[in-house]
């Protein structure tokens, strides 16, 4: 007869065991079962109720545009990689571009490799998957350019125009000049 364990309360050892078991379940998803996506944050690529297959991935194999599942407290956020360094991944949700997220190597549990919606499967090698990756990265970089690069270019251009105007005498020189 095997002993049955009690729940141990919300912060008890049973909760920790359960969390580890859930992480193990993510790791065996590719071989044994699909996981379920919840929420609107990754629309239209992932929607509520989509089944997702996640497989373990080495840190070096993670590419921009991949959708990864990682550990955060007792949840398993699943988001797209938009930037990476040797120590960190920057992530975003396709449908929440204004909210940045990040994670570190030790918290990455796996990478999504397939999605099932109804009876239709889409796998990472499929054109639709690749196009969604490309579109998401393009949107991210356009947004980044608008927020960071273009404002900088504006001020640089403004400075250059001011310099020209001052040079031709159409604008007063600064007191320091």
């Amino acid at each position: 007869m095997v002993n049955e364990a009690s729940d141990g309360g919300p912060e008890g050892p049973a909760k920790k065991t359960r969390l580890i078991a859930q992480e193990l379940l993510v790791k065996v998803s590719a071989k044994h079962r699909t996981l379920y996506f919840h929420g609107e944050s990754m629309r239209p690529f992932l929607v509520e109720g989509d089944e997702v297959v996640v497989e373990p991935v080495e840190w070096e194999q993670i590419r921009l545009g991949d959708i990864i599942t990682y550990r955060y407290l007792d949840r398993f956020p699943t988001r797209r990689v938009v930037r990476r360094t040797s120590e960190r991944l920057d992530l975003w949700c396709d449908n929440w571009p204004e909210r940045p997220f990040s994670t570190v190597p030790e918290d990455v549990l796996g990478r999504a490799i397939a999605r099932r919606r109804g009876e239709a499967w889409l796998t990472a090698g499929h054109r639709g998957w690749k196009m969604a990756r490309l579109r998401a990265l393009l949107r991210y970089h356009l947004r980044y350019a608008r927020r960071v690069l273009i404002p900088g270019a504006y001020w640089r251009a403004r400075g250059m125009v001011g310099g020209v105007l001052r040079a031709v005498g159409l604008r007063r020189r600064r007191a320091s000049e």
Binding site: A5, T17, A21, Q22, L24, K27, F37, V54, F76
Partner: protein, 131 residues
Amino acid sequence: MRYRVSEEKVAWRIVDGEGVLLHADTSAYFGLNRIGTLLWTELARRTTGVDDLAAWTRQRLPDAPAELPRDIATFLEQLKEHDLLDPVSEGETGDRTAPRAVEAPALDGFRYEPPQLLRFGELEKLILSGE
């Protein structure tokens, strides 16, 4: 009879010296106490049986009681009952083509207690959250 860990069906991890097992088909999950974890790591490393495990354990825990073989036999039965072990008949070698590198938990200051398998229940469907 000898046994080995059902690598195809069982995912497991050792945290703070204690094992957590997940049966991938049923989603049932289990906890092992320290001596259970010690035995599990050996079962993951090689195909073995009660007497062999008892001798191996006694080398590490010279103060283990005379009931050690009986405790191990009970423990193996529990694991087998939950489909966590594969029996290997005498004719088979049971050797793995690529033995898994397993680090057994440290036993510093450890006092013997019978190996235990705790069944915690089954995981329901796992939700990945975007939020």
